[in-house]
Assembly symmetry: none
Homo-oligomer: 219 residues x 4
DNA sequence: CATGAATGAGGGTTCATTCAT
DNA sequence: GATGAATGAACCCTCATTCAT
């Protein structure tokens, strides 16, 4: 009956009960990303999830609690996934870096979850609690993983020495920017379509050379 | 702490007329950035500007018109400034690039205007008209300038050949990210203070090497 | 004194759903008539109907939509009634005329609906759409019916020849005047109470003689 | 500079001061009639009179005081005029009646003042004080004059005996109706233009016959 | 569990009124 | 006297939240 029903090819008859919370947070996520937290009405969330407004309150105490759940739900399943990804090629820092960045895009940036960075950026100040949670559970672990990659690469001599905490932030920026862009201007303005793949390749090429120890004819 | 606190008990009633719009848009900008457009109450804007709520409507037809004005006012004065900056060192692409990026931070990112990217990113979908204006008058000209710098550098042989439209987007990302960060998580979470200067230097160093033609072939 | 006073302390919440619109338009009608459209606050309408302000918006999109509904609701049920009335004595034009005029008073003028002429007269200019609707669905059919009565009477020789469209307008005027009077000066000023029945009889007597073909030539 | 200036062919240079109140009440009258009291903004009144909003308060204490003045100004000059009119033909009741009715239309109904009945009818309940004033100074004297005409006619045998207070009310109704109509539906709807003169003649003819003692073949 | 009618606090907006110029 | 910028109370309308069914 709703869009959510089509996610699973053929959902078993009355298995709805357990799936409900996810359907609700999914609907909420997309609307929060589209319009922002404050501008999203719970009516719309309920409508998009195919339930009545009152039903939302069976699962979440308030709009803010729904927001918290949206972030938690959106974040938890990916955390593990990400960690596994990197163990598969732990010996080659360059490949690890590539895997990390492209993996982030494939798993997060290009999916529904790609809106979360925009959502969190917009609402961090209004919801410090959620921001804290996100920082602790997503940003910090993510940065730690990347930093480890960089540290290993430097140790292995394939990356030149560099301030890795700072570099981590810098290196993530173009990815985040792409995600933000796709959920803001790209949606509402006639903007020359940016091919994510070309963008990623260009970007990876750029930073790889930027990190390479061979470079440096200059000084 | 607010502008109102610094005014004399009874400021002259008429003489402010010309200054008012800027005072109002300044107050609105900071609140829109802090809380988002929808979550900002016009009461607060008025209070921060030290006027009553009704006064806002002497200068702006609606909340949305105020938003448009905030963007316009915030953007127009910097556009010229930026263009001049680049003509001072038009012969050295590397210096131009450095000037452009550091100049952006000095003139925009580190000032009150640094919140505009966050604001526009958050609200682009809700206000396509404003987004269009911003795209046409800020993003597109900005990208054109940067692209020209890159093209010149490539022509001069100081940058290696690269897809400049894509690179432009990528190269701006860390700057924007820094601005966004400072107006979101940095405000509300206990986050290790990032020194903007170190960030910028690290970043410039990285992309300069990434763009350098001397960087070794493949391995 | 108001409808709310007569309800039980906690009226069943759901079962009222079908009755609500009529309760609301009834409350709105009386207030619009009393104070005019612009001077009527939706709070009052809601209070008089015994609901909260927000409830109005479950049934009507706006204050203006409520106004339109007030007219529609007030008018539709009477239209049919009126038409039937006249078929009962279609052979005697004088009786038809009397039936029409006294019927109008009994069914409309003396009831709650008697305020509608005042309301529409006051607001026609402000709400041309509603005025159009009223003109098309009430005034025009009403005049058509009366005109037919006159035409028949003239054809039958019981009325002298006369410009029926104009006469129609004239003949309705004293009725409308009575209705207007009762909803304006009669309410607020110490005014010698006018007995509607005496007024109607005097009036009918007057126009009947005025229409009579036997009335002497000039002098 | 304003429409009001064109009323007098060539107003003396600075003779404005005395004329101001009338210009203001004239502007207010037309707007009150057009839109009703509550829906009229003082901005508009001031604009139509060609003065600033604040100036209104130099002459009237409040919006309600302006309303009172509008009625007073509109009514006073006509009261005398009317009384004189009737003394010119005090010997012929039929002519007096005709003079009275046609005179009312010529002096009031067809002029700017023709909107006052609509205005007073609409606002009587909201402003009992003004209504009282109007009743005492306009309606009651007017009815008295008419009643005298009727009484004389009856005494003279040119009108048949009738309850004159009631008849007075009835006889005025078509005139008032015409005035109301012209300021409501006639302005906003495509309505077959009613020729006032034809209307008046038809109406006078009708009531004259209705009042004639010769009529009465019936019973 | 689920619904959706009902609520009412709070938002954006208007406008009569004031007052420094 | 005349102005018009400023005010703030009060309006219409929205929407998160509740609760009887």
């Amino acid at each position: 009956m709703t869009a959510a029903d089509q996610t699973q090819p053929a959902p078993p008859r009355r298995r709805r009960k357990e799936a409900r919370p996810q359907e609700l947070t999914a609907a909420a996520l997309s609307l929060f990303v589209e319009k922002g937290f404050a501008a999203t009405r719970l009516d719309e969330v309920a409508a998009r999830a195919g339930v009545s407004k009152g039903t939302l309150y069976l699962y979440f105490d308030s709009k803010e609690a729904l927001f918290m759940a949206v972030i938690r739900e959106g974040v938890l399943p990916v955390l593990e996934e990400g960690r596994k990804l990197l163990t598969t090629c732990a010996d080659d820092p360059v490949r690890m870096l590539r895997e990390y960045l492209f993996g982030w895009w494939a798993l997060i940036g290009s999916t529904e979850l790609g809106g979360i960075p925009k959502l969190m950026t917009s609402e961090a100040q209004n919801f410090p609690g959620v921001a804290d949670y996100y920082l602790k559970n997503v940003i910090t672990p993510g940065k730690a993983m990347m930093r480890e990659i960089l540290d290993r690469g430097i140790a292995a001599g394939v990356f030149r020495p560099i301030d890795t905490p700072t570099a981590t932030q810098i290196l993530m920026a173009p990815l985040l920017h792409l995600a933000l862009w796709r959920h803001s201007f790209a949606v509402c303005c006639q903007v020359p379509d940016m091919d994510p793949n070309a963008y990623l390749e260009c970007y990876f090429d750029l930073i790889l050379k930027g990190l390479s120890p061979q470079s440096g004819g200059r000084a």
